[in-house]
């Protein structure tokens, strides 16, 4: 029995060095060399300023932007350093009240489910195409852009399942709003 104490200690040290330091550092080296954009968080830049990550949602409140889903992350919505879902159960009264409030603020009913519910991460970058269509009129009015133009843009920015099978139809909100700013800049 005591002859297994040495392997227990030695193997723990050796494997910590191999799998705990060498392995992640080697992957970091390969990642930084071969896929620097992804390895550093898929950052999006505009005019030399980092405006976010292509993969992480951000909060939009102005009527001239498409809005992301409600978020339960951290202390502020879309806190990229503290992901969190609401963890409300299906019969939780707080959930029903919160959703009812969101639906009321959107001013139409029924709304697509993703428009009134918080995501698992609190950082969901996407909304459903139905959710985006619901917002077309508001954005068009705020930007002074014609509805057909916006519909065309939304069509271009909607990601459909590859080969009609792989994935779900969705719209990346930040990418859509960046394209919107480019097409019809808002007067500030």
């Amino acid at each position: 029995m005591f002859n297994q104490i040495r392997p227990a200690i030695v193997m723990t040290i050796l494997f910590t060095l191999l799998t705990g330091l060498a392995y992640p550092l080697a992957i970091t080296g390969v990642g930084q060399l071969a896929f620097p954009a992804q390895a550093n968080g898929s950052r999006l830049e505009r005019d030399g300023v980092v405006v976010g990550s292509a993969l992480i949602g951000q909060d939009f409140t102005e009527p001239g932007y498409f809005w992301a889903r409600p978020s339960a992350a951290g202390d502020v919505p879309y806190n990229g350093a503290a992901s969190s879902g609401s963890n409300y159960g299906a019969t939780d009264a707080r959930l029903v009240q919160r959703v009812a409030g969101t639906v009321a603020s959107l001013g139409s009913s029924p709304v697509p489910a993703d428009a009134a519910t918080t995501s698992a991460s609190g950082l969901d970058p996407d909304i459903s195409p139905a959710n985006a269509r619901l917002q077309l009129a508001r954005v068009a009015a705020a930007r002074g852009v014609g509805l057909p133009v916006l519909e065309t843009l939304l069509g271009q920015m909607t990601e459909t399942p590859m080969l009609g099978i792989f994935g779900e139809p969705h719209v990346n909100v930040l990418a859509l709003n960046l394209a919107l700013d480019k097409m019809a800049p808002m007067a500030r």
């Binding site: 297994q4 392997p7 227990a8 030695v10 193997m11 723990t12 050796l14 705990g20 330091l21 392995y23 992640p24 992957i27 970091t28 990642g31 071969a34 896929f35 550093n40 898929s42 980092v50 405006v51 976010g52 990550s53 993969l55 992480i56 909060d59 939009f60 889903r69 990229g80 350093a81 992901s83 969190s84 879902g85 963890n87 159960g89 299906a90 019969t91 939780d92 009264a93 959930l95 029903v96 959703v99 639906v103 009321a104 029924p110 709304v111 489910a113 519910t117 918080t118 995501s119 698992a120 991460s121 950082l123 969901d124 459903s128 399942p161 590859m162 099978i165 779900e168 969705h170 960046l178």
Partner: protein, 569 residues
């Protein structure tokens, strides 16, 4: 439910089945000590490790020494991890400047990762330095998985041998599992993950100025390397608080497929390797069939429940078309969320791509039930195989009782000693889960952690102890589990679920290895045919599941009918 949803589910499962044979054959060679195509690179490292540890690779152990090796190695890993978490503030790779963890949280977390559970009472990006994530959590992601694989191989050898006293050498099996299987696969999967968008950086975060002009801090880190072994080792402990629902752990549909395939493939292939090693490949496929049937039914049940949605929300103006979207990500949709939830709980993975607490009552009951079945579908790497073999022993025993013959499994007579040990292992789960849940439901320090009133509160606690004792690690996140009571008792549940299971299982292995391997006769019950598959499914549901039915009836089932009746709490 849609056709394309079912098609995605089918394609992912077919990919796993396609991998089972090549990967299973490869692992069978590795654990038989044969040369593989990786030997030229890995063999020198392997022998170097043995030399430094003072081991001889050809020296085999009896079951007791093997079990002591498992315990000694796990204890050493626990000490190293506890020390790292308690000294976090003084250690390098800490760009966020995080301090040390509280003693009870460090204890819970160290136990959690050493037992392959990966229950997380903390938020990764707000608690753990890169050093803790790499040298602590990632290391145990490898080693706890390798330990499980080693035990499974020891049990496999018991069926291969006749009149033997030894079941293998733990240190050799564990080292080979890591160096030949887990590490090479992790390197491939990790690089694939970076290509798909997972960050892999030593920075803590970057700042962004959003389009509306506010500041957003976005946490990154060495995510891909941890995510790869988290799935391959069925650990499930995420880099971020929200695990594989976080866009940086699971950015798109293809990353999601890779996550699911990575977590399923080794456990499935190990079952195939079992068939190969005991000289009966059909036996391997029969056990895989059991897993496949139960997983598909579970996936279908979650998929149905979640697409049906939440009538309470439909009543206040939510369109039912997308189903229940609270706690889910748009890019995965209902089908891939359901498959992930079933697989992560049928396995002892415990990573999540949706918040299980926010699933509909029945949609959340299925993952909990899959855990309570004993984590054998196909279970954690290694732990799933030896768990399934315990159920198989029970099944042949029941079959033997029906016809009045001494039961045999793969030529080994199953007698009183094996049955006692098998029941000891099986009963530890209901004892731990229901015992701790009962105490927590009446004691103020247990009840105070519930954030949701009504039957969901019971579900939160029941899920927590099921997850801990099953070494799963997923959670109904509504429970505020970071308290001394939960940190301590959940850790005890994890320890019992792991080691109070492994020791009897190894004792069974020792006992079976010593028996002669009898040739089958016309009176032998064939264990590689559909009849046995059906019997085994029944045994798993009855022996594994029935004890939990009263508790489930009071939690999720009551909540389901309350939801249908329009009641909230």
């Amino acid at each position: 439910m849609t056709f394309s949803g079912w098609l995605q589910i089918a394609l992912v499962l077919i990919a796993v089945l396609a991998l089972a044979k090549p990967l299973g054959l490869y692992m069978a060679r590795v654990f038989a000590g044969e040369r593989t195509w990786l030997s030229p690179i890995v063999h020198p490292i392997e022998t170097g490790f043995y030399r430094l540890a003072g081991l001889r690779a050809d020296q085999e152990q009896g079951w007791l020494a093997y079990a002591f090796g498992v315990l000694a190695f796990s204890f050493a890993g626990f000490l190293a991890m506890f020390a790292i978490l308690r000294l976090q503030g003084f250690l390098p790779f800490n760009p966020q400047g995080f301090g040390e963890l509280a003693p009870d949280l460090a204890f819970n977390t160290a136990v959690s990762f050493v037992t392959n559970t990966n229950w997380q009472n903390y938020g990764g990006e707000t608690t753990m330095s890169h050093f803790s994530q790499m040298a602590g959590l990632t290391v145990q992601n490898f080693l706890s998985a390798a330990t499980g694989m080693a035990v499974a191989i020891a049990v496999t050898r018991a069926f291969m041998r006749s009149g033997a006293t030894a079941v293998g050498n733990f240190w050799v099996d564990m080292t080979r599992a890591t160096l030949y299987v887990l590490l090479p696969l992790a390197i491939v999967v990790a690089i694939g993950f970076v290509a798909l968008g997972l960050p892999q950086s030593m920075d803590a975060s970057f700042a962004a100025t959003t389009l509306e002009g506010t500041q957003q801090t976005i946490a990154i880190g060495p995510v891909a390397s941890q995510e790869a072994i988290k799935q391959l080792g069925t650990n499930g402990g995420g880099f971020f608080n929200t695990n594989a629902a976080h866009p940086f752990e699971n950015p798109n549909a293809f990353a999601n497929y890779l996550n699911i395939i990575a977590m399923l493939s080794i456990s499935t292939a190990l079952v195939y390797a079992f068939g190969q090693l005991v000289g009966n490949r059909r036996q391997g496929w029969a056990l895989i069939a059991v897993t496949g049937v139960l997983l598909l039914v579970g996936t279908g049940a979650i998929y149905w429940a979640e697409t049906s949605g939440n009538p309470l929300l439909h009543a206040v103006g939510v369109d039912p078309a997308l189903g229940n979207m609270e706690g889910k990500e748009v890019r995965f949709g209902q089908a891939m969320t359901a498959l992930y939830a079933a697989v992560t709980t049928g396995l002892s993975d415990g990573g999540v791509n949706a918040m299980h607490s926010s699933l509909t009552p029945l949609g959340g009951m299925v993952p909990m039930f899959l855990i309570q079945l004993g984590e054998v579908l196909p279970g954690g790497v290694g732990s799933g195989l030896y768990g399934m073999l315990v159920f198989a022993i029970l099944a042949v025993f029941v079959a033997g009782l029906m016809v009045g013959r001494t039961p045999e499994f793969l030529g080994k007579k199953i007698e009183a000693r094996e049955m006692k040990l098998a029941m000891l292992a099986i009963l530890i789960l209901p004892l731990v889960i229901l015992g701790f849940t009962a105490v927590s439901m009446v004691a103020p320090f247990g009840l105070s952690a519930i954030t949701t009133p009504g039957p969901h509160g019971l579900s939160e606690i029941l899920y927590a102890y099921s997850s801990a004792a099953g070494n799963n690690g997923s959670a109904f996140g509504g429970l505020s589990g970071n308290t001394p009571w939960y940190n301590t008792t959940l850790a005890i549940a994890m320890l019992l679920g792991r080691f109070a299971y492994i020791v009897p299982v190894l004792a069974i292995a020792g006992s079976l290895a010593a028996k002669p391997r009898l040739p089958g006769s016309s009176g032998t019950f064939p264990t590689d045919r559909p009849l046995f598959v059906g019997l085994l499914i029944g045994i798993i549901l009855i022996m594994g599941g029935l004890q939990f039915f009263p508790a489930l009836a009071l939690g999720p089932v009551v909540e389901h009918f309350a939801m249908l009746a329009g009641q909230s709490f």
